[in-house]
């Protein structure tokens, strides 16, 4: 008989259940104060109590993350293809991009906030900035993975550079590209939240910041849980698309 749920998923669920049980047991059993570790049931209670506030904040943060993610992915993948198609450009673009990226992404956020204000546009810019380089790097290393001999073979049959890119380089790069896209999902939500914490009018980051200032650690955990759930959902969707697209893996 074939099981309803695949074995890997069963184990995953088992691991999660064990963790939740351990968490709840430790927090309740040792009666830990909320600033050390609130019980999981307490956190979910707080999420339920604040559901409208949290939903509105999550809407803002998710929008920021998605818009920035789309922008950053376009720029990063486009840049990597451009650099591969024009080897001359590569020698200049690669060091410039590396130098640009050498500033830790988050260090730009004070400046971006000064430039673009406290609204949502500063978060779009920050997320796009962070995602673009992640994808540039992973797509480029994927495009470089192509076997020299395959390129030569296709060329000897008169394939154009575009054809080589479309039929050989991109399919070869897809696994690494999707690995980048997958890592980028969590990063996009993270960068949005972190930038919101420095300055924002709405969003989960602002909520977390306010809770920290009010020393309400249950609320911090509640907002963190919602942010994690959002980026987990995002991660799941991209992983699903990856499995459909890179079916040969």
């Amino acid at each position: 008989m074939k099981p309803m749920i695949p074995l890997a998923a069963q184990r995953g669920i088992l691991g999660a259940v064990l963790l939740v049980a351990l968490w709840e047991g430790v927090a309740r059993g040792f009666q830990l104060p909320a600033y050390t570790l609130p019980a999981i049931s307490q956190i979910f209670g707080s999420i339920w109590d604040m559901r409208t506030v949290l939903a509105r904040a999550a809407g803002v943060t998710v929008t920021e993350a998605l818009v920035g993610y789309a922008l950053g992915a376009l720029i990063g993948i486009g840049g990597a293809i451009w650099v591969t198609m024009a080897p001359r450009v590569r020698g200049f673009v690669l060091p410039a991009a590396t130098a640009f990226n050498s500033v830790p992404v988050i260090a730009w956020s004070p400046l971006v906030l000064l430039w673009f204000g406290m609204g949502m546009s500063s978060k779009y810019v920050m997320v796009a900035l962070a995602i673009a380089f992640t994808l540039f790097l992973s797509t480029l290393s994927g495009l470089d993975r192509v076997d020299r001999r395959s390129v030569d073979l296709m060329r000897s049959f008169g394939a154009s550079r575009l054809a080589i890119l479309w039929r050989l380089r991109l399919p070869t790069a897809l696994p690494l590209m999707f690995a980048g896209l997958r890592v980028a999902t969590a990063r996009s939500v993270l960068i949005a939240v972190v930038t919101e914490m420095l300055g924002a009018q709405a969003g989960l980051g602002l909520l977390i910041y306010q809770a920290v200032v009010q020393v309400d650690f249950v609320q911090v955990w509640a907002a963190v849980f919602v942010a994690s759930a959002a980026s987990l959902l995002f991660f799941g969707i991209v992983s699903f698309i990856e499995r459909r697209t890179v079916f040969w893996k």
Binding site: L7, G15, Y35, P95, T98, I106, L111, R145
Partner: protein
């Protein structure tokens, strides 16, 4: 400030040109260092010229010379911030790299454990670090350790993922061949699987070099008195554009240095790498 770190890696390959190091790798490293130096110089000239010619307001982009003067006026503050942030990031990065590779190998060896814990790892990575920053600082005190832990936390995940991906990309026929010659599991790992995964791992390590700095800087936002993150935050609250750019410049030098060292080690270790 940027010239000593740039000339150091350039000098080493020259001195060792006669050694067994492949000629190609040496020339490539030297050339790329030169290229970076040229790019830095070009960016500096364009920066200064653009601000003067286009009369950009200092609020957006102050002149490079002003920024450098600001650093020269109080070099101690920037230097101590530089060293502080570097040590935090380095501690977190090394721990994250070792832990990430170790866990990657462990997950590869024990699929049951991977299925149980890997989803939790993914979940743990979706937690916004800065929210945790308050808790980490509370748990470990306002020490360097707290920042190093945040840096570690953001480094280990990409390393784990790429180690796993790299190990799984090994051709099973090669494994079968080595097995048929009686290779042990340790030999398989050392001589085939780990070297095959190494290019992948280094992609993650390069990423981790940047991420660990992010972790250290974000950690400093949660209350500290020294560090580049503190300088950034202070400049933002004072709307001091010159100070902000000066701190950013220090971050850039630190980031380039860190990334450059990792890339240099990569070129020495993975000399067969995919780069054409």
């Amino acid at each position: 400030m940027s010239s000593p770190p740039l000339s150091a890696p350039a000098g080493m390959p020259v001195a060792r040109a006669a050694s067994a190091l492949p000629r190609l790798a040496t020339g490539g490293a030297l050339r790329s260092v030169l290229r970076v130096a040229l790019a830095v110089l070009a960016v500096g000239i364009v920066w200064e010229a653009a601000v003067v010619l286009l009369s950009i307001q200092a609020h957006y982009l102050p002149r490079l010379s002003l920024v450098l003067q600001a650093i020269a006026a109080t070099p101690d503050a920037y230097w101590s911030g530089f060293v502080r942030t570097l040590s935090e990031a380095l501690m977190g990065f090394s721990a994250g790299a070792v832990f990430g590779i170790g866990i990657g190998i462990l997950f590869y060896r024990m699929p049951v454990l991977r299925d149980m814990v890997f989803p939790l790892f993914i979940v743990s990575q979706t937690i916004p670090v800065i929210a945790f920053g308050a808790l980490v600082v509370l748990w470990f005190g306002n020490t360097m350790l707290a920042k190093a832990i945040i840096a570690f936390y953001v480094t280990f995940f990409p390393v784990t993922v790429n180690t796993l991906v790299g190990l799984r990309s090994v051709d099973p026929r090669q494994v079968a061949l080595m097995r048929s010659f009686g290779a042990t599991r340790g030999q398989l790992m050392r001589q085939l699987q780990f070297p095959t995964a190494l290019p992948q791992i280094f992609v993650a390590l390069r990423l981790g070099a940047s991420l660990s700095l992010v972790g250290a800087i974000v950690g400093e936002w949660f209350g500290d008195t020294t560090g580049l993150g503190v300088l950034l935050l202070q400049a933002m609250f004072n709307e001091n554009a010159v100070g902000l750019w000066a701190a950013l410049l220090c971050c850039a030098v630190l980031g380039t240095l860190f990334y450059g060292v990792v890339a240099f080690i990569e070129r020495r270790l993975v000399f067969w790498g995919a780069e054409q």
